[in-house]
Structure formats: structure tokens, C-alpha cells
């Protein structure tokens, strides 16, 4: 008989692209976690088939099926990679059991977590939300700019390959824009946020691209000083994110320019805001996936699951330390 593992057991609800990629990451890269169960609603799904092949408990009966599994008691952390609507129901159903929930949908019941920015703030929250793929890629950059200068407005443009956007993403595109915009403000530190997502069907599929724009108040700095300070902060942040998403990189030099006097940026500011920003910062990013499940173009998948894994690792490590 083997010695009982000290690793925390996890369940993944949602056997689509995100859930399956996450399962593979737990198996291959995790220090503090191990797979407990895979949960889907489609008995034919590829994710469930793979889970069974690897020898994990699996059910196609959703959250009810999970609760009925003999393995359920040992599960400490539950990842939810379904949809915002389904997560609300799942969270309610799981509430009595005291599991830690990591929400990869845009439901945002719990606080937003972007590991490179605020992972330590919500280690004890019963439910944390991982924002969106675009948010994970861009909000660290908004925060990196905001720790140098006030950000009046942060905007992100996430372009992903059509092939990497599953039916859940496609059916709920508004939730992407709304959740990401909210987190640009709450976690990124901008006074107002806007998020744009674009699906591109080009073949071969394009690697995920993200562009971050920030309208800032440069204060008394010269353009060169401002550019140098912001560049240093952004480059450091890119390194912090790349530590858990290896394919995350700055694609171009950070661009800082004065906002032309005739540019009507007032219409972009938060309501009641009257101070006109002085400079526009543009940051061009690329996210290449680790190709654990979908190929490398699907950086959007990789950054989301890597961020969720990072959060779960931290929770499990904190628990281990107190055992």
C-alpha cells in the first residue's frame, strides 16, 4: 500500500477545450495538485474520454454526478470551466461542501484574480474568478503602467484564432467584454476600462495577439523619461507573467506618444472625469500556447489554464504549509 499523497485533489467541471487543457497541466506540471475527477455533460466528449483513459474518475452527469462520485469527499479544489450561467448553478450546488472554487468562466461571483498582480489578496476566498483569457493577457500590463502613472483609461484588444474559441465563448461574447472591462478597472487600476475581442479564422491559425492601450497622465516627466519608466515596469511585468506562461512575450517596443490636441479622448473617460490624459501608451503582446491540448496558436487557452493552475497551486501550497 502506497503512502497517502500530500497533494491536493482537484476536480474539473467542463470537459471542453479549457477543462481538458487544464487536466493535462495538472498531470504534467503541477507540484501541489493531482487530478481527482473530470466532469462533463456530454458522454461523447473528448475530454471525458481522455480522463478515463488516464484512469481518473469521470462523469457526464454534471455537478450532480460529481457530488455522487465516491472520490468527491477527497476533492479540495474544484475548477469550473463551463459557462457563466452554469457556474452560477454549480457554485450554488457546491456551497454546502466547503470546496474551494476556481472559476474560469466570466461569471465573476468571487473576486478577480490575475496571478501576476494580486494572487496573494484572495488566497482565502471560497470562490475566485480568473476573469477571461484576454484579461489574463492584458491586465498585468495595465497594472504595470498604473504603478508608474495614473491611468485614466485602459483598453485591450484580444485577437484569437477562431479555432480556439469554443461554443461557450461564442455564445457569451458580451460576458467576455463586460467581465474584462470590469477587471481592467478593479485589478488593472484604470479609472475606466474597455475590452474588445476579435475572432480571426485565418489558416494556418494565428497565435493569440493582445494589444493594450492606456491613456495616462504623464505629470512633469519628459517623453523620454516617461517612456523609460513605463517600459521598465512593463518589461518586468512581462517577465512575471512569463514565469507561469512561458509563451507570453512583448512583441514590439513599448510605444508612448503625446495625445494630439484635437483627439477627442474626453469621450473615453469615466463619467464625471475631467482631467485630460496627456499620453497614450501602446503595448503589443503575443501569447504562444504550450500546446498541451490545442496547438500552440491557442495562447488564449494556455494563459487561462496556467493562471488558474497558478492560483490552485498557491492555495494548495498554503494548505500544505499548515498541515
Amino acid at each position: 500500500m502506497s503512502v497517502a499523497s500530500t497533494k491536493a485533489k482537484v476536480a474539473i467541471i467542463g470537459s471542453g477545450n479549457i477543462g481538458t487543457d487544464l487536466m493535462i497541466k495538472v498531470m504534467r506540471t503541477s507540484q501541489h495538485l493531482e487530478m481527482g475527477a473530470m466532469v462533463g455533460i456530454d458522454p461523447e466528449s473528448d475530454g471525458l474520454a481522455r480522463a478515463r483513459k488516464f484512469g481518473f474518475a469521470a462523469t457526464h452527469e454534471g455537478v450532480e454526478g460529481l457530488i455522487d462520485l465516491p472520490e468527491f469527499d477527497d476533492i479540495e479544489i474544484v475548477f469550473d470551466a463551463t459557462s457563466a450561467k452554469a457556474h452560477v448553478a454549480n457554485a450554488e450546488r457546491l456551497a454546502p461542501y466547503g470546496k474551494r472554487l476556481i472559476d474560469l468562466t466570466p461569471a465573476a461571483i468571487g473576486p478577480y484574480v490575475i496571478p501576476a498582480v494580486n494572487i496573494d489578496e484572495h488566497l482565502d476566498a471560497p470562490n475566485v474568478n480568473m476573469v477571461t483569457c484576454g484579461g489574463q493577457a492584458t491586465i498585468p500590463i495595465v497594472a504595470a503602467v498604473a504603478r508608474v502613472v495614473p491611468v485614466a483609461y485602459g483598453e485591450i484588444v484580444a485577437s484569437i484564432s477562431s479555432r480556439s474559441a469554443g461554443p461557450g465563448t461564442r455564445a457569451n461574447i458580451d460576458e467576455f467584454t463586460e467581465t474584462t472591462s470590469g477587471a481592467i478597472v478593479q485589478v488593472g487600476g484604470a479609472k475606466r476600462g474597455k475590452a474588445i475581442i476579435i475572432l480571426n479564422p485565418a489558416e494556418p491559425p494565428l497565435i493569440m495577439r493582445d494589444t493594450v492601450y492606456a491613456l495616462v497622465e504623464g505629470g512633469s516627466r519628459s517623453l523620454d523619461e516617461l517612456t523609460a519608466e513605463i517600459t521598465e515596469s512593463v518589461e518586468k511585468m512581462v517577465g512575471d507573467v512569463a514565469a507561469y506562461v512561458p509563451g507570453y512575450r512583448l512583441k514590439q517596443k513599448v510605444q508612448v506618444q503625446e495625445i494630439p490636441a484635437d483627439q477627442p479622448v474626453e469621450t473615453l473617460l469615466a463619467e464625471g472625469e475631467t482631467t485630460r490624459p496627456t499620453h497614450q501608451v501602446s503595448v503589443f503582446l503575443e501569447v504562444e500556447g504550450a500546446a498541451h491540448y490545442l496547438p500552440a496558436y491557442a495562447g488564449n487557452l494556455d494563459i487561462m489554464t496556467s493562471a488558474a493552475l497558478q492560483m490552485a497551486e498557491r492555495i494548495a501550497a498554503a494548505k500544505e504549509a499548515t498541515k
Binding site: 483609461y153 483598453e155 484588444v157 485577437s159 477562431s162 461554443p167 461564442r170 455564445a171 457569451n172 461574447i173 458580451d174 467576455f176 467584454t177 463586460e178 474597455k194 474588445i196 475581442i197 476579435i198 475572432l199 480571426n200 479564422p201 485565418a202 494565428l206 495577439r209 494589444t211 492601450y213 491613456l215 512583441k251 514590439q252 517596443k253 510605444q255 506618444q257 483627439q263 477627442p264 479622448v265 474626453e266 469621450t267 473615453l268 497614450q280 501602446s282 503589443f284
Partner: protein
Amino acid sequence: MSTPIYIQEVSLRDGMHAVRHRITPEDVKRIVIAADEAGVDAIEVAHGDGLTGGSVNYGPGSNSDWEWIEAAASVIKNARLTTLLLPGVGTIEDLRRAYDLGVRSVRVATHCTEADVSAQHIAAAREMGMDVSGFLMLNHMAPTEVVAQQAKLMESYGAHCVYITDSGGRLTMNDVRDRARAYRDVLNDETEIGIHAHENLSLSVANSVVAVENGVYRVDASLAGHGAGAGNCPIEAFIAVANLSDFKHNCDLFKLQDAADDIVRPLQDRPVRVDRETLTMGYAGVYSSFLRHAENASARYGVDTRDILMECGRRGLVGGQEDMIVDICLTKLAEQEATAGA
């Protein structure tokens, strides 16, 4: 026997690209009054990239969509007030706000292969009781059978009408004929078809006429062709041809001519016409709204506008990826530096 058509005036939506989304609510009113009195069926009002398209990426508007829509609603009498929504940019909440201001018709726009992202928005607009169209952009980028199937999807979500949206001004007359027939073959009889043309290859009027001859009912046109790239189908020229072709409509040709020349053309700070840049857009099949962003980037980074546009086409960029224009410039500059240093 005359063929009935429906004319939608788009200079206060697509035309926003031509003036970098800068127009006063007073000028919006002047255009709405003139187009309404000239007998158009519908007038579309929004930022060029649809509701809440105002952004760094697409250009901030001089005013909010709500200010422009309020201005239009305050003077419109006969025409239907309509707007545009791009899922991924604007949301259903934005659409509700437009509805509250009097908008009763909307076009939900997606890239020509991504119709399924519009399901939520088309259904919501139907629930509000609105007239709803699906708008399949950059239509030339997918084969005819593929876009026809995407049109069928939009119909299944509840669209009353689906458009052949030639955002790049890249379709030729045979292409338009084939697409109109393919849409007609797969769509239910009661579902209407629309054409949205651009003038980049100097074919917007011809393409719109061919479309009507092949079963299209709704035609987009704008005063003085005011629109992105080389502009849209110029309404005064199209109506002249429509009269000669026995199409049935309610527009007054001379009133449209007056509005085009006296009101709209003086607002343009860059001529809207076929020139080397806009022709290159049609030739390369680039989303027409990239024009002014590419020209700005060209001025800032010293890369020829046409080289930028050709690279946009080569990369297969779709509507909304304006951020890649600066990325292309920086990549080209880095390549030049590397060559110079070698």
C-alpha cells in the same frame, strides 16, 4: 414590372470612418432631415464600428453614440432609425440603451465566418421587437457556399434580413451575383437579402444593381458615397440608375444630390474617392475602415500606406484588428534596421 427596393442611408455610421468619427450633433440633424425628406427608408446612426465603438483602437468619437442618436431621433419623421452592433465591441446592454432612445432596427455584424457569435444579440433584438439584420462582413474572404451557410445561421437566430457586406470593396459583379443567388437558394422566402458595397474598385453602384437584379431587396447607400475607404455606394448615383432600371423606391434624386453636395461633401477632411490608397484596399481586400489608421501610422512611422495595406491583406486581418497596423509598421522598421545593421 418594377422591382421594389429598400434604401438604407449609412453616412452617419459607415461615413463616421471618413471623418474619424467626428461630427457634431447639429450636423447629424442636418443630414437626417435632408435624407428623410429625400425619401430614404432607413437611416443608420452609430460610431463607424457600431455602438460604443469609440475607443483608442478605432478612434474616439467627438460625441457619444447616445448624443448622435438623440440628435437623429429628435428630427427624424418618416424613415426608420437604425443602428449597428458588433459583438465583441458593443453589448446587448448598449443595444437596449439605443432602443430607449428610439432605435427600432439594428444590424448585428460579424466576420463572414463567425455568424454564431451573433446568436445572443439577434435573439435579444428580436425580443425587444426590433427589425434585425445579420451583417456578414468582409464577405469576399470566404467561399460563396460558406457565407450562404453563415447567412442561414443568422436567419435561424431570428434575422429578418442578411447582408452581403463587402467591407473591403473587393467583390466584383460576378461575385455579387453568385452570392446573392446562393443566399436566395438557402434562405427562406420571407427572409430579405441586403447588399453593402464599397467603392474601392469603383464598382459600388454596379455591384448594388447586380445585387438587386439577383434578388436583393435592401441596398446600403450614402450621400456623396460618404463612408470608409473609397466610400459606400453613392446614393444619388444609385438612385439615378435605379430610375433608369425601373426599381421601385421613394427617393427624390435632386434632393439627394443637393444634400450630398451641399451638406455632406463639405464635412470631409480627406476626399472620399478612389485613389492609390483606397484602390489598394479593394485590390488587397482590406477592411475599408483601416484607411485613415494606416495613413496616420504611415505619417508617424514613415512606412508607405500601400505597403501597410498589402501586409494587412497578406496577414488575413479581419474587421477590428486596427491595432495590427502599428504592429506592421514596427515590424517593418525592425526588419529595415536589421538589414541596415547586417
